[in-house]
Amino acid sequence: MSKKVSEIMNTKLEIISSNDSVYSAIEKMIDRRIRSLLVLPKDEKDDYGVVTVRNIIFKVLTKKLDPHKVKIGEIASKPIIAVSKDTSIDEIYELMEKNNIARVFIKEGDKIIGVVSFFDIMAHILIERAKT
């Protein structure tokens, strides 16, 4: 039986506000050696978003925009793809392949509680292989 996503998810989420500058996102990513940040909703009607290194490179840096002046809300990808913590890991593979995404967020109710990235999936597959 396939494991549940909650067993391999990363619960240490790095977050950023929509009103913060892209430069502060770059600082966070470099300091913590991560490739994405969860963008908090502006208000109750707004959705969670995600800002990745890819967004920053192609929407700001290569367009020669000033990362101090561009707000996270302007470049974040919304809405994010999120699943329940009871979802099987097999379903996550399908979701990633079908939507061509590198990470899937995990929610409990309306709250985001974790994230599973390609790296977590690769680690999981290698561990399962070693157990056989």
């Binding site: 067993e7 990363n10 619960t11 240490k12 680690a123 290698l126 561990i127 292989r129 070693a130 157990k131 056989t132």
Partner: protein, 210 residues
């Protein structure tokens, strides 16, 4: 690989069976700790002591069988060292179970998720270590097992960091309560270090036998 060197002698076969049995007891002790931390049923903490005693007697059998003449002399100390490394993990399992009996249960609520997750990964690591030993015997791919153990250890390092951050935010007013939590988490996170050392040692043993 070892099978090639043992030549099917009785003593060697017995020693290898003992080592596999020892590693199975190690897995059982890890599972026992995981159940204890999940259910918070203190009765479970005593099964770890029982398994440790059982493992102790198997360890003595392994060492005495080896020194009765099993294996070529240059392999003997290597196998004994592997067993001694694993033995240290039993000490940490015992410490963890002992300290858990005295942990403040209100405090534990806030760290339970991380603690159970570490214990679950420890069980997986113990299972992979057992498979790694079998790979050594079958001349199978030990490198993959070693990598999987390193991945698990990295995950535990991250969880430990998370756990330490949570603990630091709590106010601890009593010396013994602080020592108890510190000893408990330290012992829990050390188990994976020991398994990683044991796995590295198996890998070196595998290379040295080629």
């Amino acid at each position: 690989m070892l099978e090639k060197l043992i030549g099917g002698e009785k003593l060697e076969k017995r020693a290898l069976e003992y080592i596999q049995n020892y590693l199975k007891i190690f897995i059982s002790a890890q599972e026992c700790l995981k159940t204890l931390l999940l259910t918070e049923d203190l009765e479970r903490s005593y099964c770890i002591e029982n398994l440790e005693r059982e493992a102790d007697s198997v360890r003595r059998e392994i060492i005495s069988t080896i020194y009765k003449g099993a294996f070529l002399p240059y392999i003997r100390p290597n196998l004994c060292t592997f067993i001694e490394i694993t033995e240290k993990a039993f000490d940490f399992l015992k410490t963890c179970a002992f300290e858990f009996r005295y942990i403040n249960k209100e405090f534990y609520k806030d760290i339970k998720d991380d603690v159970v997750r570490i214990a679950s990964i420890n069980v997986e690591m113990a299972e992979i270590l057992y498979k790694a030993f079998q790979s050594l015997l079958k001349k199978d791919n030990l490198r993959e097992k070693n990598l999987a153990i390193r991945i698990c250890e990295k995950k535990i390092d991250e969880l430990k960091l998370n756990l330490t951050e949570k603990i630091r935010q709590k106010e601890i007013t009593n010396f013994w309560e602080g020592k108890n939590v510190s000893d408990f988490t330290e012992a829990l996170a050390k188990i994976s270090d020991i398994i990683e050392d044991a796995s590295d040692y198996l890998y070196i043993l595998d290379i040295s036998l080629k």
